[in-house]
Amino acid sequence: MSGEHLLARTDEAQLYRDLSRSNLVTTWKWFAGAGTLALVLLWGIGVFVYMMMTGMGVTGLNRPVFWGILIVNFVFWIGLSHSGTLISAILRLTHATWRAPILRAAEAMTAFSLMVGGLFPLIHLGRNWRFYYTIPYPNERGLWPNMRSPLMWDAVAINTYLIGSLTFLYVGMIPDLAILRDKSEGWRRMLYSILSLGFRGTHAEWRRYHRASTLFAILIIPVAVSVHSIVSWDFAMAKVPGWHSTIFAPYFVVGAIFSGIAGVVLVMTVLRRVFRLERVLTPLHFDNLGKLLCMMSLIWGYFYFAEFLTVWYNRNPEEWEVFSSYGKSYLPVFLLMIMCNFVIPFPMLCMKKVRRSIPAISIASFLVVVGMYCERILIVTASLARRNDPFIWHNYFPTWVELSITAASFAMFGLLYMIFSKIFPIMAISDIKERLFHTTERAFGGASAEAIARVEEGEEEGSA
């Protein structure tokens, strides 16, 4: 056993090739995948244009359900975005040593989910070409957005989170862009030279870089929590049975983190397979995320039960009618939600074998994503379908137009991720190198263990 840190025992050139495979190698499969996604996206854009030309009548929206699957998609994508930056920030702040290979994938997921999710209020708008009236600027008609509307809070919060997440993603990439700058040629070199801003890796730069990263992590966590709270208040501020609840904000945040972790696991599974990152994304990473997912499943179950119990016991007719519709018209969606969010994944994720098996944990995560989508359907559409006046009760079903746009949103997310992985480092190379640099192997009797040196901000200089 040597006292050398693991980076000294690693072939850095090979490490760089392994971690940058997505940038260095482009196969026909990539083009085929990107082409397919682009076609689905184009179809979705075409359908959106058709909807715009024809009017919202081509959707399944009708009195009293004026928010349908397009708003479900909005809540779903914003929820999915939640965990990426949040996980990354929490892992950075807590110095979780296993975090490095997860950071970039998670942060990119946040950025792209927000981009996709942020489009849905505009798609749903009707007369979409007038979206600019939502922007506060002086105009001759004297129009100005109404700050009392929770939708306006949403616009402010989502834009803050999008800008913050993109900045967080970008700042995290600066040292990696500097590596790519020094190792690439042609247009890539020019691009990375501009984007790396001339970062060289001097001692002073690293110190300030670390301070900035820590500050970003501290600042982005309350923003992430506020965004999904505000999304929940879009609903909770309305006196609609099933929506008007004090528990909605934390419940939405929990749901968002839950679906976000599942999304991170799925993205990691795909990246691991496609870019052959088996040596970097190990079962340990999936195991740790599996533990978080298991805990979130339990918390989600608790929140749902707490929300359900008060209505169940109280039997306030307005609210009870919404909840009892889950056992009638919405029974398949309700069962799917309960099974996928709690009954199946929770016991699965309690088992270490499942958490360490990548296909098994991917299945559990996929179920969670499906379950959370169903939960959004129930929240958005079931509550509106059973509004106060029974004479207007009406069940909602999305039309081919809404389903096409939904499919296009998934394609857009995938395509953005594929393009990103072709141009930017999908793995946080510097963070992985830093972890290896700080890790040594030491003997514990007959066994060996990893020892990790850590320097705390503000500690005495030179202590490691």
């Binding site: 306006m152 803050t160 801003l197 970062f199 890796g201 600042l219």
Partner: protein
């Protein structure tokens, strides 16, 4: 710090630390000495950063500036475009709190980016700063601004004794 820069390339942190110690003993002021590395090194491991990190306190200032901007936006909206609803106040406190908070956080995030980059000296596209791309192959570059002549000779000797793989000089800034 600009002038004649002596750049010594080392295979690991231990020889680089030895070189750093020897260079400081020349004596060479802390501002004249730095490292270029592919991974961050603890302060004092090889070189010491003499400049305090200041930008974080300005981020707090910008948080307050953002809060004022958010508050101003919300209040101006109520006063310039009053929404008169029976029994309701013109100025509504809950939305004001939310807009103020979000704009404050936005300003703090942007301030972290801009001020952090500014304190790092970024963006920088001119080539006058010394650079060593071999840091991506696991090497550590120790850079020292030295006076040509005797000090340069002694610094070179110190680096060589510490085990430098390669030593070169460049006119530039560290």
């Amino acid at each position: 710090m600009s002038g004649l820069v002596l750049i010594g390339l080392f295979d690991g942190v231990e020889p680089a630390a030895k070189a750093g110690q020897a260079l400081r003993a020349l004596p060479l002021p802390a501002a004249n000495l730095t490292t270029i590395s592919g991974v961050p090194l603890p302060d004092g491991a090889v070189s010491v950063d003499p400049r305090p990190i200041r930008f974080s306190r300005y981020v707090v200032v910008f948080w307050f500036v953002g809060a004022l901007a958010g508050l101003g936006l919300a209040l101006a909206t109520y006063l310039l475009y009053p929404l008169i609803t029976a029994g309701k106040a013109i100025i509504s406190i809950p939305p004001t709190l939310i807009i103020t908070y979000e704009v404050a956080m936005l300003f703090a995030l942007l301030a972290t980016l801009v001020l952090g980059a500014r304190e790092m000296g970024l963006p920088r596209f001119k080539a006058k700063k010394v650079h060593e791309p071999r840091i991506h192959e696991g090497k550590i570059a120790v850079c020292a601004v030295v006076e040509p002549g005797e000090q340069e000779r002694r610094a070179r000797e110190a680096m060589k004794t510490a085990g430098a793989l390669d030593i070169r000089t460049e006119e530039g800034e560290i």
